[in-house]
Protein backbone atom coordinates (compact mmCIF):
# COMPACT_ATOMS: atom_id res chain seq x y z
CA UNK A 1 0.00 0.00 0.00
CA UNK A 2 2.69 2.45 1.02
CA UNK A 3 4.65 1.18 -1.95
CA UNK A 4 2.02 2.19 -4.54
CA UNK A 5 1.56 5.70 -3.11
CA UNK A 6 5.31 6.14 -3.25
CA UNK A 7 5.25 5.06 -6.89
CA UNK A 8 2.45 7.48 -7.63
CA UNK A 9 4.41 10.32 -6.05
CA UNK A 10 7.51 9.38 -8.02
CA UNK A 11 5.46 9.20 -11.21
CA UNK A 12 4.00 12.66 -10.72
CA UNK A 13 7.53 14.07 -10.38
CA UNK A 14 9.05 12.01 -13.17
CA UNK A 15 6.19 12.23 -15.68
CA UNK A 16 6.97 15.83 -16.81
CA UNK A 17 10.62 14.84 -17.26
CA UNK A 18 9.78 11.64 -19.14
CA UNK A 19 7.25 13.36 -21.37
CA UNK A 20 9.80 16.13 -22.06
CA UNK A 21 12.39 13.59 -23.21
CA UNK A 22 9.82 11.68 -25.27
CA UNK A 23 8.54 14.77 -27.08
CA UNK A 24 12.03 16.21 -27.61
CA UNK A 25 13.18 12.88 -29.07
CA UNK A 26 10.20 12.81 -31.43
CA UNK A 27 11.04 16.26 -32.80
CA UNK A 28 14.74 15.36 -33.07
CA UNK A 29 13.88 12.29 -35.13
CA UNK A 30 11.69 14.44 -37.36
CA UNK A 31 14.56 16.88 -37.99
CA UNK A 32 17.00 14.05 -38.64
CA UNK A 33 14.95 13.28 -41.76
CA UNK A 34 16.40 16.45 -43.31
CA UNK A 35 20.08 16.18 -42.32
CA UNK A 36 21.42 18.81 -44.74
CA UNK A 37 18.86 21.39 -43.61
CA UNK A 38 19.63 20.59 -39.96
CA UNK A 39 23.37 20.90 -40.56
CA UNK A 40 23.02 24.24 -42.40
CA UNK A 41 20.76 25.83 -39.80
CA UNK A 42 23.03 24.56 -36.99
CA UNK A 43 26.00 26.07 -38.84
CA UNK A 44 24.14 29.36 -39.15
CA UNK A 45 23.36 29.38 -35.42
CA UNK A 46 27.00 28.51 -34.72
CA UNK A 47 28.17 31.33 -36.97
CA UNK A 48 26.10 33.80 -34.93
CA UNK A 49 27.63 32.53 -31.68
CA UNK A 50 31.15 32.69 -33.13
CA UNK A 51 30.64 36.25 -34.43
CA UNK A 52 29.54 37.38 -30.96
CA UNK A 53 32.64 35.84 -29.39
CA UNK A 54 34.79 37.46 -32.10
CA UNK A 55 33.24 40.84 -31.23
CA UNK A 56 34.28 40.29 -27.60
CA UNK A 57 37.80 39.46 -28.83
CA UNK A 58 37.98 42.62 -30.99
CA UNK A 59 36.85 44.79 -28.06
CA UNK A 60 39.37 43.24 -25.65
CA UNK A 61 42.09 43.36 -28.30
CA UNK A 62 41.72 47.16 -28.52
CA UNK A 63 41.14 47.77 -24.81
CA UNK A 64 43.77 45.37 -23.42
CA UNK A 65 42.12 45.30 -20.00
CA UNK A 66 38.40 46.04 -19.53
CA UNK A 67 37.14 46.65 -15.97
CA UNK A 68 40.17 44.75 -14.66
CA UNK A 69 39.50 41.74 -16.93
CA UNK A 70 42.15 40.46 -19.36
CA UNK A 71 41.27 38.91 -22.75
CA UNK A 72 41.25 35.36 -21.33
CA UNK A 73 39.10 36.41 -18.36
CA UNK A 74 36.74 38.26 -20.70
CA UNK A 75 36.45 35.13 -22.85
CA UNK A 76 35.70 33.04 -19.75
CA UNK A 77 32.84 35.41 -18.94
CA UNK A 78 31.50 35.49 -22.50
CA UNK A 79 31.88 31.71 -22.77
CA UNK A 80 30.04 30.81 -19.55
CA UNK A 81 27.27 33.35 -20.20
CA UNK A 82 26.76 32.07 -23.75
CA UNK A 83 26.92 28.47 -22.60
CA UNK A 84 24.21 28.98 -19.96
CA UNK A 85 21.99 30.99 -22.33
CA UNK A 86 22.59 28.47 -25.12
CA UNK A 87 21.53 25.53 -22.93
CA UNK A 88 18.49 27.46 -21.67
CA UNK A 89 17.58 28.33 -25.26
CA UNK A 90 17.81 24.66 -26.31
CA UNK A 91 15.75 23.42 -23.36
CA UNK A 92 13.21 26.24 -22.93
CA UNK A 93 13.68 28.72 -25.82
CA UNK A 94 10.54 27.50 -27.65
CA UNK A 95 8.32 29.01 -24.91
CA UNK A 96 8.75 32.42 -26.55
CA UNK A 97 6.29 31.23 -29.22
CA UNK A 98 3.47 31.22 -26.65
CA UNK A 99 1.74 34.16 -28.36
CA UNK A 100 1.69 32.26 -31.67
CA UNK A 101 -0.01 29.28 -29.96
CA UNK A 102 -2.55 31.54 -28.25
CA UNK A 103 -3.44 33.20 -31.57
CA UNK A 104 -3.60 29.95 -33.53
CA UNK A 105 -5.61 28.23 -30.79
CA UNK A 106 -3.04 25.43 -30.50
CA UNK A 107 -2.59 26.20 -26.78
CA UNK A 108 -6.14 24.87 -26.25
CA UNK A 109 -5.06 21.57 -27.80
CA UNK A 110 -2.13 21.42 -25.41
CA UNK A 111 -4.38 22.02 -22.43
CA UNK A 112 -6.53 18.93 -23.07
CA UNK A 113 -3.58 16.54 -23.44
CA UNK A 114 -2.36 14.55 -20.42
CA UNK A 115 1.11 16.18 -20.57
CA UNK A 116 2.01 19.38 -18.68
CA UNK A 117 1.39 22.30 -21.11
CA UNK A 118 4.75 23.91 -20.27
CA UNK A 119 6.49 20.69 -21.35
CA UNK A 120 4.55 20.64 -24.61
CA UNK A 121 5.31 24.31 -25.26
CA UNK A 122 9.04 23.93 -24.50
CA UNK A 123 9.44 20.86 -26.71
CA UNK A 124 7.36 22.17 -29.62
CA UNK A 125 9.61 22.05 -32.71
CA UNK A 126 12.50 21.19 -30.33
CA UNK A 127 15.33 22.83 -32.26
CA UNK A 128 18.44 20.70 -32.35
CA UNK A 129 20.14 23.43 -34.39
CA UNK A 130 20.58 25.36 -31.12
CA UNK A 131 23.44 22.98 -30.38
CA UNK A 132 25.22 25.24 -32.87
CA UNK A 133 25.16 27.92 -30.18
CA UNK A 134 26.28 25.62 -27.35
CA UNK A 135 29.33 24.08 -29.04
CA UNK A 136 31.31 27.33 -29.68
CA UNK A 137 30.38 28.59 -26.21
CA UNK A 138 31.62 25.35 -24.61
CA UNK A 139 34.86 25.47 -26.62
CA UNK A 140 35.42 29.11 -25.60
CA UNK A 141 34.74 28.31 -21.94
CA UNK A 142 37.11 25.32 -22.06
CA UNK A 143 39.90 27.30 -23.72
CA UNK A 144 39.43 30.25 -21.34
CA UNK A 145 39.49 27.98 -18.27
CA UNK A 146 42.83 26.68 -19.56
CA UNK A 147 44.24 30.16 -20.32
CA UNK A 148 43.09 31.92 -17.14
CA UNK A 149 45.25 31.86 -14.08
CA UNK A 150 42.82 29.97 -11.82
CA UNK A 151 43.85 28.72 -8.40
CA UNK A 152 42.09 25.34 -8.64
CA UNK A 153 40.80 23.82 -5.38
CA UNK A 154 38.55 20.82 -4.86
CA UNK A 155 35.71 23.22 -4.00
CA UNK A 156 36.06 25.02 -7.34
CA UNK A 157 36.17 21.77 -9.31
CA UNK A 158 32.97 20.64 -7.60
CA UNK A 159 31.30 24.04 -7.91
CA UNK A 160 31.96 24.44 -11.68
CA UNK A 161 29.14 22.12 -12.86
CA UNK A 162 26.84 23.47 -10.12
CA UNK A 163 27.43 27.03 -11.33
CA UNK A 164 26.79 26.08 -14.98
CA UNK A 165 23.55 24.29 -14.11
CA UNK A 166 22.41 27.19 -11.91
CA UNK A 167 23.22 29.69 -14.66
CA UNK A 168 21.19 27.64 -17.15
CA UNK A 169 18.27 27.45 -14.68
CA UNK A 170 18.31 31.22 -14.10
CA UNK A 171 18.41 31.91 -17.85
CA UNK A 172 15.59 29.39 -18.47
CA UNK A 173 13.42 31.07 -15.81
CA UNK A 174 13.98 34.43 -17.47
CA UNK A 175 12.82 32.85 -20.74
CA UNK A 176 9.67 31.39 -19.17
CA UNK A 177 8.88 34.58 -17.22
CA UNK A 178 9.30 36.67 -20.40
CA UNK A 179 6.98 34.32 -22.29
CA UNK A 180 4.33 34.46 -19.53
CA UNK A 181 3.83 38.17 -20.24
CA UNK A 182 2.27 37.02 -23.54
CA UNK A 183 -0.67 35.61 -21.55
CA UNK A 184 -1.53 39.20 -20.70
CA UNK A 185 -0.22 41.00 -23.83
CA UNK A 186 -0.14 38.62 -26.82
CA UNK A 187 2.18 40.84 -28.86
CA UNK A 188 4.87 41.27 -26.20
CA UNK A 189 7.33 38.77 -27.71
CA UNK A 190 9.62 41.49 -29.08
CA UNK A 191 9.71 43.26 -25.73
CA UNK A 192 10.57 39.98 -23.96
CA UNK A 193 13.49 39.59 -26.38
CA UNK A 194 15.17 42.54 -24.70
CA UNK A 195 15.25 40.45 -21.50
CA UNK A 196 16.36 37.16 -23.05
CA UNK A 197 18.65 38.08 -25.95
CA UNK A 198 19.40 41.46 -24.35
CA UNK A 199 20.25 39.69 -21.10
CA UNK A 200 22.65 37.47 -22.96
CA UNK A 201 24.34 40.45 -24.63
CA UNK A 202 24.54 42.23 -21.28
CA UNK A 203 26.18 39.32 -19.43
CA UNK A 204 28.85 38.79 -22.12
CA UNK A 205 30.91 41.69 -20.73
CA UNK A 206 32.08 42.44 -17.15
CA UNK A 207 29.07 43.92 -15.35
CA UNK A 208 31.34 46.60 -13.88
CA UNK A 209 31.20 48.51 -17.20
CA UNK A 210 27.48 49.26 -16.73
CA UNK A 211 25.82 51.89 -14.55
CA UNK A 212 25.38 51.03 -10.86
CA UNK A 213 21.57 50.89 -11.25
CA UNK A 214 21.90 48.30 -14.03
CA UNK A 215 24.16 46.16 -11.83
CA UNK A 216 21.69 46.35 -8.95
CA UNK A 217 18.75 45.53 -11.25
CA UNK A 218 20.41 42.43 -12.75
CA UNK A 219 21.52 41.27 -9.30
CA UNK A 220 18.35 41.72 -7.27
CA UNK A 221 15.44 42.10 -9.76
CA UNK A 222 16.19 39.96 -12.84
CA UNK A 223 19.11 37.85 -11.53
CA UNK A 224 21.18 37.77 -14.75
CA UNK A 225 24.32 38.55 -12.71
CA UNK A 226 24.26 34.93 -11.48
CA UNK A 227 24.42 33.48 -15.00
CA UNK A 228 28.06 34.35 -15.72
CA UNK A 229 29.35 37.29 -13.71
CA UNK A 230 29.20 36.01 -10.11
CA UNK A 231 30.39 32.47 -11.06
CA UNK A 232 33.41 33.95 -12.88
CA UNK A 233 34.25 36.23 -9.91
CA UNK A 234 34.17 33.07 -7.76
CA UNK A 235 36.44 31.08 -10.10
CA UNK A 236 38.95 33.94 -10.39
CA UNK A 237 38.87 34.84 -6.64
CA UNK A 238 38.29 38.44 -7.73
CA UNK A 239 36.83 41.05 -5.35
CA UNK A 240 33.61 42.43 -6.87
CA UNK A 241 34.60 45.70 -8.66
CA UNK A 242 31.02 46.95 -8.29
CA UNK A 243 31.35 46.84 -4.49
CA UNK A 244 28.62 44.25 -3.81
CA UNK A 245 29.30 41.68 -1.04
CA UNK A 246 31.56 38.74 -1.99
CA UNK A 247 29.11 36.28 -0.41
CA UNK A 248 26.81 36.73 -3.43
CA UNK A 249 29.08 34.55 -5.56
CA UNK A 250 28.05 31.48 -3.56
CA UNK A 251 24.38 32.26 -4.11
CA UNK A 252 23.78 30.97 -7.71
CA UNK A 253 22.19 27.62 -6.67
CA UNK A 254 19.82 29.40 -4.27
CA UNK A 255 19.04 32.13 -6.82
CA UNK A 256 18.36 29.42 -9.40
CA UNK A 257 15.82 27.75 -7.10
CA UNK A 258 14.08 31.03 -6.28
CA UNK A 259 13.91 32.16 -9.92
CA UNK A 260 12.59 28.76 -11.06
CA UNK A 261 9.88 28.98 -8.38
CA UNK A 262 9.04 32.55 -9.43
CA UNK A 263 8.82 31.52 -13.10
CA UNK A 264 6.59 28.55 -12.21
CA UNK A 265 4.33 30.83 -10.19
CA UNK A 266 4.09 33.30 -13.10
CA UNK A 267 3.28 30.43 -15.46
CA UNK A 268 0.42 29.25 -13.22
CA UNK A 269 -0.86 32.79 -12.84
CA UNK A 270 -0.80 33.26 -16.62
CA UNK A 271 -2.47 29.92 -17.31
CA UNK A 272 -5.23 30.76 -14.83
CA UNK A 273 -5.71 34.14 -16.51
CA UNK A 274 -5.85 32.55 -19.99
CA UNK A 275 -9.20 32.56 -21.77
CA UNK A 276 -9.29 30.71 -25.05
CA UNK A 277 -9.60 32.77 -28.24
CA UNK A 278 -12.52 30.49 -29.05
CA UNK A 279 -11.18 29.53 -32.45
Amino acid sequence: MADTSFRQAADSVLWPLRSYLLLARTWMRAQAQYPVSLLLTALGTGLAAVSEILAVLVVFDHAGVLAGFTVAEGLLLAGTANLAFGCADLLMGAVERLGVHIRAGSLDTMLVRPVPPLVQLATDHFALRRLGKIVPAAVTTGAALHLCDIDWTLGKVLMLPVLLVSGTAVAASVWVAGACVQFFATDSRDAANSLTYGGQALTEYPLAIYAKEVVLAVTFAVPLAFVGWQPVLYLLDRPDPTGLPDALRLAPPLVALVSCAAAALLWRLGLRHYRSTGS
Binding site: S37, A48, L66, D190, N193, G198, I209
Partner: protein
Protein backbone atom coordinates in the same frame (compact mmCIF):
# COMPACT_ATOMS: atom_id res chain seq x y z
CA UNK B 1 -4.91 47.21 -71.55
CA UNK B 2 -7.41 44.52 -70.43
CA UNK B 3 -10.82 46.02 -69.77
CA UNK B 4 -11.55 44.05 -66.57
CA UNK B 5 -9.27 46.45 -64.65
CA UNK B 6 -10.85 49.30 -62.65
CA UNK B 7 -11.22 52.43 -64.73
CA UNK B 8 -8.57 54.28 -62.72
CA UNK B 9 -6.00 51.84 -64.12
CA UNK B 10 -7.04 52.24 -67.78
CA UNK B 11 -4.61 55.06 -68.57
CA UNK B 12 -1.77 53.17 -70.21
CA UNK B 13 1.07 55.51 -69.26
CA UNK B 14 0.34 55.96 -65.57
CA UNK B 15 -0.73 52.35 -64.99
CA UNK B 16 2.45 50.86 -63.42
CA UNK B 17 3.11 53.99 -61.39
CA UNK B 18 -0.42 53.85 -59.94
CA UNK B 19 -0.04 50.17 -59.05
CA UNK B 20 3.34 50.68 -57.37
CA UNK B 21 1.99 53.66 -55.43
CA UNK B 22 -1.00 51.63 -54.22
CA UNK B 23 1.24 48.69 -53.21
CA UNK B 24 3.58 51.11 -51.40
CA UNK B 25 0.72 52.72 -49.48
CA UNK B 26 -0.71 49.33 -48.53
CA UNK B 27 2.72 48.10 -47.39
CA UNK B 28 2.97 51.15 -45.16
CA UNK B 29 -0.58 50.91 -43.80
CA UNK B 30 -0.34 47.18 -43.17
CA UNK B 31 2.50 47.73 -40.65
CA UNK B 32 0.52 50.39 -38.82
CA UNK B 33 -1.86 47.63 -37.67
CA UNK B 34 0.74 45.94 -35.46
CA UNK B 35 1.20 48.66 -32.85
CA UNK B 36 2.28 46.41 -29.96
CA UNK B 37 4.91 44.74 -32.14
CA UNK B 38 6.22 48.16 -33.23
CA UNK B 39 6.44 49.31 -29.60
CA UNK B 40 8.14 46.03 -28.62
CA UNK B 41 10.71 46.39 -31.41
CA UNK B 42 11.32 49.99 -30.46
CA UNK B 43 11.93 49.02 -26.82
CA UNK B 44 14.22 46.09 -27.71
CA UNK B 45 16.31 48.17 -30.14
CA UNK B 46 16.72 50.90 -27.49
CA UNK B 47 17.78 48.36 -24.83
CA UNK B 48 20.33 46.82 -27.21
CA UNK B 49 21.52 50.34 -28.09
CA UNK B 50 22.14 51.08 -24.40
CA UNK B 51 24.01 47.77 -23.84
CA UNK B 52 26.22 48.24 -26.93
CA UNK B 53 26.81 51.90 -26.07
CA UNK B 54 27.99 50.94 -22.56
CA UNK B 55 30.45 48.44 -24.10
CA UNK B 56 31.75 51.11 -26.51
CA UNK B 57 32.12 53.68 -23.69
CA UNK B 58 34.09 51.16 -21.59
CA UNK B 59 36.30 50.34 -24.59
CA UNK B 60 37.02 53.97 -25.43
CA UNK B 61 37.66 54.77 -21.75
CA UNK B 62 40.64 52.39 -22.10
CA UNK B 63 41.69 53.66 -25.58
CA UNK B 64 40.38 57.19 -26.34
CA UNK B 65 40.91 56.88 -30.12
CA UNK B 66 40.85 53.85 -32.44
CA UNK B 67 41.36 54.23 -36.23
CA UNK B 68 39.84 57.72 -36.28
CA UNK B 69 36.86 56.85 -34.05
CA UNK B 70 36.29 58.31 -30.58
CA UNK B 71 33.70 57.35 -27.96
CA UNK B 72 31.05 59.74 -29.26
CA UNK B 73 31.46 58.46 -32.84
CA UNK B 74 31.10 54.84 -31.69
CA UNK B 75 28.02 55.49 -29.50
CA UNK B 76 26.42 57.45 -32.37
CA UNK B 77 27.08 54.49 -34.70
CA UNK B 78 25.48 52.11 -32.17
CA UNK B 79 22.24 54.12 -32.11
CA UNK B 80 22.16 54.85 -35.85
CA UNK B 81 22.49 51.08 -36.43
CA UNK B 82 19.70 50.20 -33.97
CA UNK B 83 17.53 52.90 -35.55
CA UNK B 84 18.19 51.49 -39.05
CA UNK B 85 17.56 47.86 -38.09
CA UNK B 86 13.80 48.11 -38.64
CA UNK B 87 14.22 49.95 -41.96
CA UNK B 88 16.81 47.69 -43.61
CA UNK B 89 15.69 44.39 -41.99
CA UNK B 90 19.12 42.73 -42.46
CA UNK B 91 18.35 40.37 -39.58
CA UNK B 92 14.89 39.65 -40.99
CA UNK B 93 11.99 39.25 -41.36
CA UNK B 94 12.58 37.90 -44.89
CA UNK B 95 10.47 39.12 -47.82
CA UNK B 96 7.26 37.08 -48.11
CA UNK B 97 8.29 36.38 -51.71
CA UNK B 98 10.40 33.41 -50.54
CA UNK B 99 7.42 31.64 -48.97
CA UNK B 100 5.39 32.32 -52.14
CA UNK B 101 8.13 30.80 -54.31
CA UNK B 102 8.18 27.72 -52.06
CA UNK B 103 4.41 27.28 -52.07
CA UNK B 104 3.97 28.10 -55.75
CA UNK B 105 1.84 31.20 -55.03
CA UNK B 106 4.43 33.17 -56.98
CA UNK B 107 2.60 31.92 -60.07
CA UNK B 108 -0.17 34.41 -59.22
CA UNK B 109 2.42 37.18 -58.75
CA UNK B 110 3.88 36.46 -62.18
CA UNK B 111 0.46 36.83 -63.82
CA UNK B 112 0.29 40.46 -62.74
CA UNK B 113 0.92 43.01 -65.51
CA UNK B 114 3.73 44.67 -63.46
CA UNK B 115 7.25 43.45 -62.74
CA UNK B 116 7.83 41.05 -59.84
CA UNK B 117 10.79 43.10 -58.58
CA UNK B 118 8.88 46.38 -58.80
CA UNK B 119 5.89 44.99 -56.90
CA UNK B 120 8.00 43.70 -53.99
CA UNK B 121 10.22 46.79 -54.00
CA UNK B 122 7.13 48.99 -53.59
CA UNK B 123 5.81 46.77 -50.79
CA UNK B 124 9.16 46.72 -48.98
CA UNK B 125 9.67 50.49 -49.30
CA UNK B 126 6.24 50.93 -47.69
CA UNK B 127 7.40 48.78 -44.79
CA UNK B 128 10.70 50.70 -44.60
CA UNK B 129 8.94 54.08 -44.60
CA UNK B 130 6.67 53.03 -41.74
CA UNK B 131 9.65 51.84 -39.70
CA UNK B 132 11.64 54.99 -40.48
CA UNK B 133 8.85 57.15 -39.04
CA UNK B 134 7.78 55.05 -36.08
CA UNK B 135 10.92 53.11 -35.14
CA UNK B 136 14.06 54.91 -36.35
CA UNK B 137 13.08 58.39 -35.21
CA UNK B 138 12.06 57.43 -31.61
CA UNK B 139 15.13 55.16 -31.16
CA UNK B 140 17.52 57.89 -32.27
CA UNK B 141 15.65 60.34 -30.02
CA UNK B 142 15.97 58.01 -27.02
CA UNK B 143 19.68 57.57 -27.77
CA UNK B 144 20.19 61.34 -27.94
CA UNK B 145 18.41 61.74 -24.59
CA UNK B 146 20.44 59.05 -22.81
CA UNK B 147 23.89 59.56 -24.40
CA UNK B 148 25.95 62.25 -26.13
CA UNK B 149 25.46 61.61 -29.85
CA UNK B 150 27.28 63.38 -32.69
CA UNK B 151 24.22 64.28 -34.80
CA UNK B 152 24.23 66.83 -37.65
CA UNK B 153 23.05 70.34 -36.78
CA UNK B 154 22.04 71.80 -40.17
CA UNK B 155 19.02 70.75 -42.22
CA UNK B 156 21.18 70.28 -45.32
CA UNK B 157 23.16 67.46 -43.76
CA UNK B 158 19.99 65.76 -42.55
CA UNK B 159 18.85 65.79 -46.17
CA UNK B 160 22.07 63.96 -47.11
CA UNK B 161 21.43 61.49 -44.28
CA UNK B 162 17.87 60.84 -45.52
CA UNK B 163 19.16 60.27 -49.07
CA UNK B 164 21.71 57.83 -47.71
CA UNK B 165 19.02 55.98 -45.69
CA UNK B 166 16.85 55.74 -48.82
CA UNK B 167 19.79 54.25 -50.74
CA UNK B 168 20.45 51.89 -47.80
CA UNK B 169 16.83 50.71 -48.04
CA UNK B 170 17.30 50.07 -51.79
CA UNK B 171 20.56 48.13 -51.34
CA UNK B 172 19.11 46.09 -48.49
CA UNK B 173 15.97 45.32 -50.53
CA UNK B 174 18.04 44.24 -53.52
CA UNK B 175 20.12 41.88 -51.34
CA UNK B 176 17.06 40.38 -49.61
CA UNK B 177 15.32 40.03 -53.00
CA UNK B 178 18.34 38.07 -54.29
CA UNK B 179 18.28 35.83 -51.17
CA UNK B 180 14.64 34.97 -51.97
CA UNK B 181 14.99 34.64 -55.74
CA UNK B 182 17.64 32.00 -55.00
CA UNK B 183 14.58 30.01 -53.87
CA UNK B 184 13.62 29.42 -57.53
CA UNK B 185 16.62 27.09 -57.67
CA UNK B 186 17.03 26.08 -53.99
CA UNK B 187 13.27 25.85 -53.14
CA UNK B 188 14.01 26.61 -49.47
CA UNK B 189 15.83 29.85 -48.61
CA UNK B 190 16.07 29.27 -44.85
CA UNK B 191 19.67 28.09 -45.28
CA UNK B 192 20.54 31.30 -47.17
CA UNK B 193 19.02 33.33 -44.35
CA UNK B 194 20.75 31.26 -41.66
CA UNK B 195 24.11 32.43 -43.05
CA UNK B 196 23.19 35.89 -44.41
CA UNK B 197 21.18 36.86 -41.31
CA UNK B 198 24.47 36.64 -39.40
CA UNK B 199 26.95 37.82 -42.02
CA UNK B 200 24.81 40.79 -43.13
CA UNK B 201 24.73 42.69 -39.81
CA UNK B 202 28.44 42.02 -39.16
CA UNK B 203 29.47 43.26 -42.64
CA UNK B 204 27.13 46.26 -42.29
CA UNK B 205 29.01 47.44 -39.17
CA UNK B 206 26.03 46.76 -36.91
CA UNK B 207 27.75 44.34 -34.53
CA UNK B 208 30.78 46.59 -34.07
CA UNK B 209 31.79 49.59 -36.22
CA UNK B 210 33.82 48.43 -39.24
CA UNK B 211 36.84 50.70 -38.41
CA UNK B 212 37.39 48.62 -35.25
CA UNK B 213 38.12 45.47 -37.29
CA UNK B 214 41.75 44.75 -38.27
CA UNK B 215 42.63 47.08 -41.23
CA UNK B 216 42.63 44.34 -43.93
CA UNK B 217 39.26 42.93 -42.87
CA UNK B 218 37.79 46.40 -42.48
CA UNK B 219 38.88 47.43 -46.01
CA UNK B 220 37.30 44.35 -47.59
CA UNK B 221 34.03 44.74 -45.65
CA UNK B 222 33.79 48.43 -46.56
CA UNK B 223 33.96 47.58 -50.28
CA UNK B 224 31.11 45.03 -50.04
CA UNK B 225 27.47 46.09 -50.54
CA UNK B 226 26.49 45.44 -46.91
CA UNK B 227 28.55 48.49 -45.81
CA UNK B 228 26.01 50.61 -47.73
CA UNK B 229 23.30 49.43 -45.31
CA UNK B 230 24.66 50.94 -42.07
CA UNK B 231 28.35 51.88 -42.15
CA UNK B 232 28.04 54.51 -44.91
CA UNK B 233 24.84 56.13 -43.53
CA UNK B 234 26.64 56.38 -40.15
CA UNK B 235 29.69 58.00 -41.78
CA UNK B 236 27.38 60.57 -43.38
CA UNK B 237 25.71 61.24 -40.01
CA UNK B 238 29.17 61.71 -38.45
CA UNK B 239 30.47 63.78 -41.40
CA UNK B 240 33.38 61.37 -41.93
CA UNK B 241 35.04 60.41 -45.19
CA UNK B 242 34.19 56.90 -46.37
CA UNK B 243 36.15 54.51 -48.54
CA UNK B 244 36.08 56.83 -51.59
CA UNK B 245 36.78 60.06 -49.63
CA UNK B 246 35.06 63.28 -50.86
CA UNK B 247 32.81 63.38 -47.76
CA UNK B 248 29.12 62.52 -48.19
CA UNK B 249 29.35 62.53 -52.01
CA UNK B 250 31.78 59.58 -51.99
CA UNK B 251 29.55 57.55 -49.71
CA UNK B 252 26.37 58.29 -51.66
CA UNK B 253 28.12 57.40 -54.92
CA UNK B 254 29.19 54.00 -53.58
CA UNK B 255 25.67 53.33 -52.25
CA UNK B 256 24.02 54.37 -55.53
CA UNK B 257 26.42 52.17 -57.51
CA UNK B 258 25.63 49.12 -55.37
CA UNK B 259 21.89 49.84 -55.50
CA UNK B 260 21.94 50.06 -59.32
CA UNK B 261 24.15 46.95 -59.73
CA UNK B 262 22.18 44.77 -57.31
CA UNK B 263 18.74 45.82 -58.61
CA UNK B 264 19.93 45.08 -62.16
CA UNK B 265 21.22 41.70 -60.95
CA UNK B 266 17.83 41.08 -59.29
CA UNK B 267 15.97 41.89 -62.51
CA UNK B 268 18.28 39.64 -64.53
CA UNK B 269 17.94 36.76 -62.03
CA UNK B 270 14.14 37.12 -62.14
CA UNK B 271 14.03 36.87 -65.92
CA UNK B 272 16.36 33.83 -65.85
CA UNK B 273 14.29 32.18 -63.16
CA UNK B 274 10.91 32.74 -64.77
CA UNK B 275 12.16 31.52 -68.14
CA UNK B 276 13.92 28.39 -66.99
CA UNK B 277 12.41 27.18 -63.74
CA UNK B 278 9.09 25.36 -63.49
CA UNK B 279 6.95 26.95 -60.78
CA UNK B 280 6.05 24.62 -57.90
CA UNK B 281 2.53 23.28 -58.19
CA UNK B 282 0.13 24.53 -55.52
Amino acid sequence: MPDFLPCTFRNRDSFPVRVYTEVYVRGLRRRSTYRAATLGGLFTNTVFGCINAAVMLALFAARPEINGYDAEDAVTQVFVCQALLGVVAVMGPPLELGERIRSGDVGTDLLRPVSLLGWWLAEDLGRASFNLLFRSAPILGAGALLFDLRLPGEAGRWLLVLTSVALAALVSFALRYLYEVAGFWLLDTRGVWAVMGVFGPVAAGMLIPLPLFPPGVSDVLRTLPWASIAQIPTEIVLGKDGLLGEGAAGGLLLQATWAALLLALGAWATSRATRRVVVQGG
